[in-house]
Symmetry: C2
Subunit: 274 residues, 2 copies
């Protein structure tokens, strides 16, 4: 499994990936899932991948040389694409090429052609863009309303992203949010693991060196891990327990529902279930 | 979808279920998923179900009359079973009977025989017990190390259960924890919905009237919903953002990893991916 999250903010982009790959619980390895394509001052792109590792490694390899026909003009590659949309079309094409090469054999072996990717960045004067690419090579783009994408084991870490992120969130706060989201995922799913790759990109810089590789000795991630769990329990303890007594509670639990009757009790073998 | 959680504590049992059922996003209905079987002073059992509604309704109906052969003795039913283990065997048998009746036709229609159930309670002088029953009618039991079971959409709400629950947790605190877990699930998955059924059972009481049906006007659940989200954001804001500068940070983010190199950057079309 895998967990990656990509965030598009007004201030820039944030990418975070884990690095665990497993084929069964007894075959666990470390593979980095993030790769950066950068021509400083001209283009900056980040790719993160989830799914079958043989597929995503092949896609990365082919993406370097993939060309999209462009009429009489020079074919489009990720290195000359004029927009992130064009570059993402090149990525979709690379995914389809791997499907053509490997799809039939995988199908014959009963294996899904399973891969999904987050691809984002900025090219020239265009705005920053962030895409989610599916295994059919089609893709969707993040918008103001939905400013992040997750791939892999997304559920454990989604509530904090839902609660915190807006396009106006500052870059470092979004990086912290991604790390908290990753921490919850690491705690609940063994198939997501350290080290993490974190990349933060500032709008219009067209390059970035805000890269961190985070292992279990990283002081900041350890602080998040310890603090978040501890504070969560404190907040939990600070909320009133439900009160089953009469009507003197500030927030009574036992209030008649305006629409629903209490749940049925069945009190013996002869009673009918209705 | 569905979300139900059952918890076994030293002090008693807690059961919480949602009530949304959907066949596609355009066919959403409300069905209660919890049912209580009670002979005061003798036995107290709670069943919660997830999966295909036609299967779980049939199981509930058949469970009332299901009999397990018992040699020369009277056949075992949930109403005369001498232990929760026996009663759960009766439930497993009811599941298998529905499989015999409906399984082949469901298979022909390409529909999985999909149902899972949480069944817990106390009979006579036996200790309280809590079981998770699978669609093959087999089951597992909660232990001190794993004191809760979830069925349905379990992932969003699992982190808070993992962080808070132990066998020593008091009953009302566990009920609060289940409600916080449900709140996170409701926020992230449309196919889980109100009203909720909450049942709290106190050890050795062999009956319970601590039943609440919770809809969106319930003051306690509204308080949890508002407080938890708000406090979570406060805790989040109270944690330091990462610091990209030099080594003066208290918890430096940029620390050399002892095992891993920084992620690769590819800087042009001729560079090889390795």
């Amino acid at each position: 499994m895998t967990y990656c999250v990509g965030i598009r903010l007004n201030a820039g982009l944030v990418f975070l990936s884990d690095s665990r790959t497993n084929a069964g619980l007894d075959a666990i390895s470390t593979f980095r899932k993030m790769i950066v394509y950068e021509q400083p001052g001209e283009r900056f792109m980040v790719l993160m991948s989830a799914g079958n590792l043989s597929i995503s490694q092949s896609v990365r390899e082919i993406l370097q040389v993939e060309k999209l026909a462009n009429g009489d003009e020079e074919p489009i590659t990720i290195w000359n694409a004029k927009s992130m949309f064009e570059a993402t079309r090149v990525l979709g094409s690379a995914v389809r090429r791997v499907y053509d090469q490997d799809g039939p054999s995988l199908k014959a072996a009963g294996i899904d052609f399973n891969c999904s990717m987050i691809f984002g960045g900025q090219i020239g004067n265009e705005a920053m863009r962030l895409f989610l690419v599916y295994s059919a090579g089609n893709f969707i783009e993040a918008t103001r309303e939905t400013c992040f994408f997750q791939i892999g084991e997304s559920k454990y870490g989604k509530p904090i992203l839902d609660r915190v992120l807006t396009p106006g969130t500052p870059l470092d706060e979004a990086a912290k949010c991604a790390l908290v989201s990753m921490d919850s995922t690491l705690k609940s799913n063994l198939s997501v693991g350290l080290p993490l790759d974190l990349m933060v990109y500032e709008k219009d810089s067209l390059q970035s060196n805000r890269i961190a590789v985070i292992d279990d000795h990283n002081p900041y991630f350890r602080m998040i891990h310890n603090t978040w769990g501890q504070r969560l329990r404190e907040v939990f303890e600070g909320i009133d327990d439900p009160h089953w007594g009469g009507g003197d509670a500030v927030h009574p639990l036992l209030t008649p529902s305006h629409r629903y009757e209490p749940m049925r009790k069945i009190q013996g073998p002869d009673e009918k279930i209705v």
